[in-house]
Each structure stands twice: as structure tokens, then as C-alpha cells.
């Protein structure tokens, strides 16, 4: 268990820094979490983050990397639906790191 402080608000995280409460997330919180991860967010990053949040809202889980890659490819085109592109955006893993910044729990099956 840990906490982060964004805009004077204290938000709870788990021991690995994932937000405990989905609804605590705002774009501002996303920016804060990205800074912690040393990721500078560009529109390409936001595309993936927003995709992840939409996926979670629809299915109530964070997708596995393979599923994320495939679905991104379907939605945003093949040039983005590959792991090289996604790892360039999120060096510590499109599922693990992008989910953290998007305020989602760690994907099922990730160790």
C-alpha cells in the first residue's frame, strides 16, 4: 500500500504503484504517474491510454499484451498494432506500464 499526492489530493495505490480506485484517475493523475515512470506523454501515448480505459470500461479487465496489440491494430491501424511501436511508447511494457499510467489494475496474468 502506498499513496500519491496530486493537486493536494491523496490517492491510494497498491505496493507497486497502481491506483487502488479506478475513479480516482484524471488526466492530471495520468500525467503525474507518467512522470514517476519517466515517460513523457505525447498524443500517441494518450491514444493508447484512452484505449485502455475504454477497454476496461467495456470488459472490466485490463487486456493482456497480445490482446492489446491486436485490438490497437484493429482500431488505430497496423503501424500501431505491433509490440515494437507499443514498447517504444512504454518501455516497461505496454500492458504493465501503460495500465499503471491509465489508472487501471495490473493486467491478469502479469507477474
Amino acid at each position: 500500500m502506498g499513496t500519491i499526492e496530486v493537486n493536494g489530493k491523496t490517492l491510494e495505490t497498491d505496493e507497486e504503484g497502481y491506483l487502488t480506485t479506478l475513479d480516482d484517475w484524471t488526466e492530471e493523475v495520468g500525467n503525474f504517474l507518467a512522470k514517476q515512470e519517466n515517460v513523457e506523454l505525447t498524443p500517441n501515448h494518450w491514444e493508447v491510454i484512452n484505449f485502455l480505459r475504454e477497454y476496461y470500461t467495456e470488459f472490466q479487465i485490463a487486456p493482456a499484451v497480445r490482446v492489446l496489440t491486436k485490438s490497437i491494430g484493429k482500431k488505430l491501424g497496423a503501424d500501431k498494432g505491433n509490440s515494437q511501436y507499443l514498447y517504444e511508447l512504454f518501455p516497461y511494457g505496454p500492458a504493465k506500464q501503460a495500465c499503471k499510467i491509465a489508472g487501471l489494475p495490473k493486467p491478469t496474468g502479469c507477474v
Partner: protein, 122 residues
């Protein structure tokens, strides 16, 4: 072992929320998808309630995991089998279910179970 594909069947027999079996099964199914095996999900007895449309869990303050069954297709898990007699005994029909399934009789379900290399019971 590369290239060896086995037939795995997850047998789901419990209603959701009253016990943890349904959720545990679903989590193992999602993990198993990473291993590129031939995965089938079977819903027998009260397990058919797991796929019932319109689950509203706010009142019991428990996460509604039924939308996740709709994600299975994206995980290439597309073999979902439901026992016909189980639906009938519960006043349910295929239209009451939140995903596309194949409805099988008990006998057909038993035959399919026989074909599996591994059966995981929940």
C-alpha cells in the same frame, strides 16, 4: 514441447457471487489464453447463471465480472458450450445469455468432455 496443442476444458458449475469458483475459473481461463492451447468453456448446472444478461452487483458491493465473458473472443477463446437441460431447469434460454454460445445436450456435453486432454473443474 513447442507446437503441442492440448485440449483443455474448463467446466463451470456454480452460480456467480455466492462462491468464488466462477471468478477463479474466469481468471485462469484468461491466463491460459497466453499458452495457445485449444480451450473450451463448458457451462453446466448453475454455471449457466454466470452468462446471464443484466447482472447488477451494486447492491451486493461486489465487482460485476460478467462483462469480461465478452472479452474472451479477443483472447481467441471462442468455444463456449452451454448445457441445454441446465438452461431449461432454470427458465432460461439462449437469448438470456450475454455471449454467443453453442447449446449442447447433456449427452453431447459428456462426449465433448471425453475428448479433452485436460479437464479443469470449477
Amino acid at each position: 514441447m513447442e507446437g503441442v496443442v492440448k485440449k483443455f476444458m474448463f467446466v463451470n458449475r456454480k452460480a456467480p457471487y455466492g462462491t468464488i469458483y466462477a471468478l477463479e475459473s474466469l481468471e485462469v481461463v484468461l491466463i491460459s489464453a497466453a499458452f495457445d492451447q485449444d480451450v473450451s468453456l463448458a457451462f453446466l448446472d448453475d454455471g449457466v447463471y454466470q452468462l446471464k444478461k443484466g447482472q447488477q452487483t451494486k447492491g451486493i458491493e461486489t465487482k460485476n465480472f460478467s462483462p469480461t465473458y465478452r472479452a474472451l473472443e479477443g483472447y481467441d477463446i471462442e468455444k463456449l458450450y452451454v448445457e441445454k437441460e441446465a438452461l431449461e431447469a432454470r427458465g432460461l434460454s439462449e437469448d438470456d445469455l450475454l455471449v454467443d454460445v453453442t447449446v449442447l445436450s447433456r449427452a453431447e456435453m459428456g462426449a465433448l468432455m471425453e475428448e479433452q486432454d485436460v479437464v479443469l473443474s470449477f
